[in-house]
Amino acid sequence: MAPISLILSFFLFISPALSTNSEGNALHALRSRFKDPTNVLQSWDPTLVNPCTWFHVTCDSNNHVIRLDLGNSNISGTLGPELGQLQHLQYLELYMNDISGKIPKELGNLKSLVSMDMYQNKLEGEIPKSFANLKSLKFLRLNNNKLTGSIPRELTTLSDLKVFDVSNNGLCGTIPVDGPFRSFPMESFENNKLNGPELQGLVPYDFGC
């Protein structure tokens, strides 16, 4: 009787990603997480030396990515830790898509970030405490998602934060009142399970969350 050859398949011949550009690799990894039915990411060719000629990507004169503009682009899928490698990113515009899953804590590595717009998606989980590292952040819009947990108190240290909107989520606990939170309008917090502004010195910050 014919003996059976059991072929153990290997996947060893992985061709090198011929891009030394870690930012291009990071964006390409991000692309692999996305479903892109309208092909807005079609021009993202990973074989190019850098991603600076890709659509919706803007670089500075040193070929560092400073803008990612994918707002309202019919994108679904999740975000990944690789986004944290875009060390020079200033504008992360992912608003009005179908992005789900958690916000990667690695976004806290984006030290140059000025604006993070991820409103109107299906993001869940907590707002990462690591956002407290985004010292240049001015605009943070996370409204209309499914975020839970409390507003990290650490965000009160973001002295440049000018616009903050977390309305229409499932956040709980109290609203910080320190630092930039002194001046955010109440509309930025509505439609959550928040317990109102923190009463300093009287109630623990995470009370009821």
Binding site: L8, P16, S43, R67, V163
Partner: protein
């Protein structure tokens, strides 16, 4: 009876002599004697069988082939018995009892085979011929058949249920045919059957549970069919079974625990099905089992520890399933095991040290699981091991030095783990090693020179680690090496010239390191080399002309180094080359004309160097060229006319040179072009309407040149255009309404031209527009209200034009705008307070207009505003109280 005619003849001859009783008696005696013994008298038996065989012979397609069945003939009286014919055997009574016609090239069908003519046939073997058509149901008439083999033919149709009449059948071989339909349940009536082989057909539907009645069955082969449904539990009744192979079907459901009753089973192959559920622990009862293959199914759950009881097991294949849990330590009891493959599962936990008892183990595949912990140092005891793959796991710790004892090891795969520490010199003891893959780990330290002892090594993968130090020159001793990948480490020092000895090397990847010095000219000796990637290092000096000897080279990556000197003209000899990337170096001199010989070249990247001279017209010979980047050099002169031949081009970058050509003459229609950048040159002439005939064009950048004339309206036909930059030229006329057709336009930059007239409201339909710069032109009249529809805009610059009337209120819709510059226009009326809704705005310049009225106090609420300039207007009233205004220089107000 068929013998009558001849008997009647004899009686008729005798009837006149009836008086002589003695004679009659003698004659009758004689006749009876002859009937039982004398062949001439029994010829009516074998004439029938001979005629049946001859009839079938003539039905064969190739019966005229003289050599085929040449003994099958009646034309000589002495040969009228078929018993002497080739392939025919008779019993002592002269009756055909065996037909054995294997591998003689019979071509035809069985329709003319008279099965009923052979009531004594016990053996029919037509193995390996070219017989086709259905198996006739009359086959059920050979009621004494014990052995039936029709395998290795092209029989089609279904297995006739009448086969169930063959109650003496011990062997039924129908494998390697084209039989379809289901297995008749009547096969279950063949209670004498020992050997059943129906494999490699197109049989479908369920395995009939009636097969569980075949209590004498020893081998059961149904593999390579399309059988579906679950494995009948009745198979567990086949106590005589020693070999059960149902692999490569579409069987689903779980493995019946009753299989554990098959106490004589030596081989159980259920691989390549869709079996689910867990492996029944009863399999551990099969004490005679020596081969167990359940791979390529959907089995889940954990590996039953009872498998450790299978003391005769030589092969255990459970790979490509969804098995989870840890590897039971009991596997270490399988002292006869020589092949263990548990790869491609979801196994976790650590590798049990007990595996070191498997002294006969030759193959150990645990790759692609989630195994953690360290590699047991006891593995060094597995002296028979020749293949060890633990890749794609979460193994940590260092590589145990004891692995250096595995003198039979041919492949060692530890790639894609988290192994740390250094590569120990003991690896150099593995003299049988042909494949060493330690890539994608956290290995540090230097590459041990002892690796140079591995004289059989064909593949060495150490890439994506943290190895430092220099590449040992001993690597040059590995004469069998065909693939060397050390990329993505921290290797420094120079490339050892000894690598030039690796005459079998096909792939050499040293990229993403810190290698310095020059490229050794000895690399040019690697005549087998097809891929050479040295990019992203610190290599300096000039490129050795000897690289031109690499006649098999398909890809050469030298970009991102500090290479200087000129591009060797010898590169023109690299006739196999399809990719040449030399960008980001310090190469100078001219582009060699000889590059025009590289007819297979698809990608040529020489950007960001110091190349001078003009572009050789020979580049136009590269008809296969997809990608050409010559940007950021100091190239002068005009574009060769031959560029019109480069019709395969997908990507063309000539930007940032000193090229000067009439842009309308130098190019033609490129049906596949997606990207063209000619910016920052001295191109002149007008933009051709032909660009509208490049249907895939995504980016067109002609900025900073001396282009004149109008924007051709036909450009609007490039429906995929995402970026259009014509800024800093001398373009005149109006912006064509047709630009409003660009459904995918992301960036539109027409700044610093002499465009005039008023803006078409249709530009407001560019719904994807993120960046719009029309500054420094002569555009006039009002800013279209439709611009309020450009909701993705983050940059809008209309400054230095002649826009008049008011700021359209609809601009309030541009909620993502971070920069708005309307300065240096003739805008009048009040600043609409709606502008304060632009919450993302960081820079606002409304200066040098004729705006009047009060400064909107709502500016105070524009919390993100970083800079504001409202100077040189006719505004009045209090300055809003916000930090932006407080911080603004007085000239801005």
């Amino acid at each position: 009876m068929i013998i009558e005619p001849r008997l009647i003849f004899h009686y008729a001859m005798m009837s006149p002599n009836l008086k002589n009783n003695l004679v009659i008696f003698s004659l009758i005696f004689f006749i009876l004697f002859c009937a039982s013994n004398f062949p001439p008298v029994v010829s009516f038996y074998y004439m029938e069988e001979a005629h049946a065989l001859l009839k079938w012979k003539t039905s064969l397609q190739n019966h005229n082939n003289g050599s085929l069945l040449s003994s099958w003939t009646l034309n000589n009286v002495t040969k009228t018995s078929p018993c002497a014919w080739v392939g025919i055997h008779c019993n002592r009574g002269g009756r055909v009892n065996s037909i054995n016609l294997t591998s003689i090239g019979l071509k035809g069908m069985l329709h003319d085979f008279s099965f009923s003519s052979f009531p004594h046939m016990a053996y029919l073997d037509l193995w390996r011929n070219q017989l086709y058509g259905n198996i006739p149901p009359q086959i059920g008439n050979i009621s004494r058949l014990k052995y039936l083999d029709l395998s290795y033919n092209s029989f089609s149709g279904t297995i006739p249920p009448q086969i169930g009449h063959l109650s003496y059948l011990k062997t039924l071989h129908l494998f390697e045919n084209k039989l379809n339909g289901s297995i008749p349940y009547e096969v279950g009536r063949l209670c004498s059957l020992n050997y059943l082989a129906l494999y490699s057909n197109y049989l479908e539907d369920l395995i009939p549970p009636s097969l569980g009645n075949l209590s004498n069955l020893a081998t059961f082969y149904l593999y390579d069919n399309s059988l579906s449904g679950s494995i009948p539990g009745e198979i567990g009744n086949l106590r005589s079974l020693s070999d059960l192979e149902l692999s490569n079907n579409k069987l689903s459901g779980s493995i019946p625990p009753s299989l554990g009753n098959l106490s004589n089973l030596a081989t159980l192959y259920l691989y390549e099905n869709s079996l689910s559920g867990s492996i029944p622990c009863e399999i551990g009862n099969l004490r005679s089992l020596s081969n167990l293959a359940l791979n390529n199914n959907k089995l889940s759950g954990s590996i039953p520890p009872s498998l450790g009881n299978l003391s005769n097991l030589a092969t255990l294949y459970l790979y490509n399933n969804s098995l989870s849990g840890s590897i039971p330590g009991e596997i270490g009891n399988l002292s006869s095991l020589s092949n263990l493959a548990l790869n491609n599962n979801k196994l976790s936990g650590s590798i049990p040290p007990s595996l070191d008892n498997l002294s006969n183990l030759a193959t150990l595949y645990l790759y692609n699981n989630s195994l953690s912990g360290s590699i047991p140092s006891e593995f060094g005891n597995l002296r028979s091991l020749s293949k060890l793959s633990l890749g794609y796991n979460k193994l940590s710790g260092s590589i145990p030095p004891s692995l250096g004892n595995l003198s039979n090891l041919a492949t060692l795969y530890l790639y894609e783990n988290s192994l740390s520490g250094s590569i120990l010199g003991e690896i150099g003891n593995l003299r049988s090693l042909s494949d060493l893959e330690l890539s994608n780990n956290k290995l540090s330290g230097s590459i041990p020179p002892s690796l140079g002892n591995l004289s059989n090594l064909a593949t060495l993968y150490l890439h994506e680690n943290s190895l430092f130090g220099s590449i040992p020159c001993e690597i040059g001793n590995l004469r069998s090496l065909s693939d060397l990948e050390l990329s993505n480490n921290k290797l420094s020092g120079s490339i050892p010239p000894s690598l030039g000895n690796l005459s079998n090397l096909a792939t050499l990847y040293l990229y993403d390191n810190s290698l310095s010095g020059s490229i050794p000219s000895e690399i040019g000796n690697l005549r087998s080399l097809s891929n050479l990637a040295l990019y992203n290092n610190k290599l300096s000096g000039s490129i050795p002309p000897s690289l031109g000897n690499l006649s098999n080279l398909a890809a050469l990556y030298l970009y991102e180094n500090s290479l200087s000197g000129s591009i060797p003209s010898e590169f023109g000899n690299l006739r196999s080359l399809s990719t040449l990337t030399l960008g980001y170096n310090k190469l100078s001199g001219i582009i060699p004309h000889s590059l025009g010989n590289l007819t297979k070249l698809a990608t040529l990247y020489i950007h960001n160097n110091l190349l001078s001279g003009s572009i050789p017209s020979e580049i136009g010979n590269l008809r296969s060229l997809f990608n050409l980047e010559l940007n950021n050099n100091t190239l002068r002169g005009s574009i060769p006319l031959s560029f019109r031949n480069l019709t395969s081009l997908i990507r063309l970058r000539l930007d940032r040179n000193y090229l000067s050509s009439n842009i309308s003459e130098s190019f033609y229609i490129y049906p596949n072009l997606t990207f063209i950048d000619l910016s920052h040159n001295n191109f002149y002439g007008e933009i051709s309407s032909d660009w509208g005939r490049c249907p895939k064009l995504g980016t067109l950048d002609f900025s900073v040149n001396n282009i004149t004339g109008n924007i051709p309206p036909e450009i609007g036909h490039s429906s995929q255009l995402g970026v259009l930059d014509l800024s800093s030229n001398h373009i005149v006329g109006e912006i064509p309404t047709e630009l409003g057709k660009f459904n995918f336009l992301i960036k539109l930059i027409l700044a610093q031209n002499q465009l005039s007239g008023q803006l078409s409201p249709k530009l407001g339909s560019l719904a994807q527009l993120e960046h719009l710069d029309l500054s420094s032109n002569r555009l006039n009249n009002s800013i279209p209200k439709s611009f309020g529809n450009l909701v993705k805009l983050h940059y809008l610059n209309l400054s230095n034009n002649q826009f008049c009337r008011g700021i359209p209120i609809k601009l309030e819709e541009l909620i993502h705008l971070s920069e708005l510059d309307l300065s240096y226009n003739f805008l009048r009326e009040a600043i609409p307070s709606q502008i304060c809704i632009l919450q993302s705005l960081e820079n606002l310049n409304l200066s040098h207009n004729s705006l009047s009225g009060l400064i909107p106090s709502c500016f105070e609420k524009m919390r993100g505003l970083l800079r504001i300039d409202i100077s040189y207007n006719e505004l009045q009233g209090p300055i809003p109280n916000s930090t932006t205004f407080r911080d603004a220089p007085i000239e801005a107000l």
